[in-house]
Symmetry: C2
Subunit: 347 residues, 2 copies
């Protein structure tokens, strides 16, 4: 057992999450292409593949390189890359051994993707307002990119506005509508969309008609955000941070797990900076780099100094990116230590 | 030049920050013991030592081990450690080659520090309400710890409530008052406080009477929080993230620098998720793991797709912890790449 704070995966729960989502995708007749930015580990991606995932989604060329090295050969970089010359060279290297798809939302980037061997998907904005063109503009962009020589095979979106209480259904409706409008726009422009890709963990079960592919990420581990959104229960949380109680200052619980292991993600709608798995009424009210301060309901006895508690990070993906490896358990038994192989691969 | 996003240190500015603060401490007759959790690099700590720092501050035993390995022999772990047996063994190993001081705020932890060879400082709460006993309780705790066999040499606090607009002076007043009360309480209990330690970057220049030592961290790099608090100007910012413009979706600037390199720190009083050094009117209004979305004043031309801009993270300490190394520049010239040697050493 390493010193606290450290991250622990409950493999039994992770496997159940993987199996449940794979079964859902099969029933929904959707190709499952999990986003591996959540776990950054070929070990976990292999479990997802064994359960039926046809390929994986990554956010960066660096992540694609790590997974290609681990013999994943069907990769979608769901990001509007800027393919400068060094990135073009890296894409050419990747496509020599794998089917590589990338996103684009401008003709400038599409033009630079030509000749790299990738296939491409237009990104549309379905309401998250981050990247992507308007759905009705997808056809014109796709046609211009085809004209420039790019192999455009479809359209994708990320309904990230599903992250908020009560928003998941509306986000799933927006997603299906945006993709439908985009598909029609592309058809009218002479570019059939063979791949229609969406998905976010909160909106998953509300996914509408017309998609061919789903790309959830967080579902494999879940986290305090999903718990608070109701897209999982505490029994579905596979990732926790084991932390030591170092102080009872001010009648509160002070843990050695701070933002340098939990991440500082704190959307305004969350109840705090993370949750305690075994103390669901407690709230992490203050987070410094190496301190997590939890308030307990008045009258409730605090866990003893020196005891170890399990903290649920708000955002699994950023917590995982803060460690070199995680401890893997089945029940109380430690079965492995897995490297976070794509840690820090922002490039 | 590595691929974007990556962190860059302007060494000329960092050196000026180091020299200015060293001169301030000398004039204020304070021992300077910089907190190295900001940079996590022995290279930078050596510059601080050369400018007059008598020792360094760290947050964890793991950080202490990295700097001891790099031949720093005067270390203060400014944290209320829980010294279980493995940590006791590591402290004993550290004290074999260095003067090691640690914090405590409970008699339970003090008792477990006995026999490790460390010297200890009582932590008091000066208003940040994170850890530490009340100042008037310092004497009783110090005397009990001495009685248990611990070598108690002083008192420390962190006036972290200086982080907020207009709060720095009041926080410095609180700090000086809390330390004075604690020193008196310890004297009355027969434990002279030879070391009286405080300091935060925002409150530095307002430091009150009675301290013997200051432990600022962020001042070496500065960041968007310090810029917005007015404790530095943009010309004092030595750490930036070089990011590529990947999209102009929605008429906004989308950069490839997200929370996985900038950190997600976003105190409510900040104007956004970070700033752009060369576009002070722009605001980072949305931050995902690999996207930073900036709004520009209406009518202002956006930097071109594919161009590189310099992003100032909200919090230097957490950004640095996200990378394996940073590029070091003097003006436009790259002079080195320094490893973030204590990255992820939360243990």
């Amino acid at each position: 057992m390493p010193a606290t704070p450290h991250l622990v995966i409950d493999l039994t729960i992770a496997q159940a999450n993987i199996d449940r989502t794979a079964a859902w995708a099969k029933k929904a007749k959707l190709t499952l292409r999990p986003h591996v930015k959540t776990h950054k580990s070929p070990e976990i991606a292999r479990l997802q593949r064994r359960a039926g995932a046809v390929g994986i989604t990554v956010a960066t060329i660096g992540e694609a390189e790590v997974f290609a090295e681990a013999r994943f050969d069907d990769l979608f970089i769901a990001y509007p890359l800027w393919p400068d010359n060094p990135r073009r060279a890296r894409l050419i290297n990747l496509t020599s051994g794998a089917d590589v798809r990338v996103g684009f939302d401008s003709l400038e980037s599409a033009t630079r993707l030509v000749g790299t061997g990738v296939r491409a998907l237009v990104e549309v904005d379905s309401g998250h307002h981050r990247t992507g063109v308007l759905p009705a503009e997808a056809g014109a962009l796709a046609a211009a990119a085809m004209e420039a020589g790019l192999d455009v095979i479809g359209v994708f979106t990320f309904p990230g506005h599903s992250y908020g209480p009560g928003r998941l259904k509306a986000a799933a409706v927006d997603e299906a509508k945006a993709l439908r409008v985009a598909v029609d726009s592309m058809a009218a422009a002479g570019v059939p969309a063979r791949v229609v890709s969406g998905g976010s963990t909160p909106s998953l079960t509300a996914t509408g008609k017309g998609l061919t592919e789903s790309r959830p990420g967080v579902y494999v581990f879940n986290d305090a955000q999903q718990w608070e959104l109701g897209s999982c229960g505490p029994e579905d949380i596979a990732l926790t941070c084991y932390a030591t109680v170092v102080s009872h200052a001010g009648g509160r619980l002070v843990l050695d797990s701070g933002s340098k292991i939990l991440g500082a993600d704190r959307p305004t709608w969350t109840s705090g900076f993370g949750r305690l798995l075994d103390h669901p009424e407690a709230r992490l009210v203050l987070l410094s780099e190496h301190h997590g301060v939890a308030e307990f309901p008045s009258g409730e006895k605090l866990p003893a100094l020196g005891s170890i508690v399990r903290v649920v990070p708000n955002h699994a993906c950023t917590a995982v990116n803060l460690v070199g490896s995680y401890v893997v358990k089945e029940g109380d038994r430690t079965v492995a230590t897995w490297a976070v192989e794509a840690r820090g691969r922002n490039d």
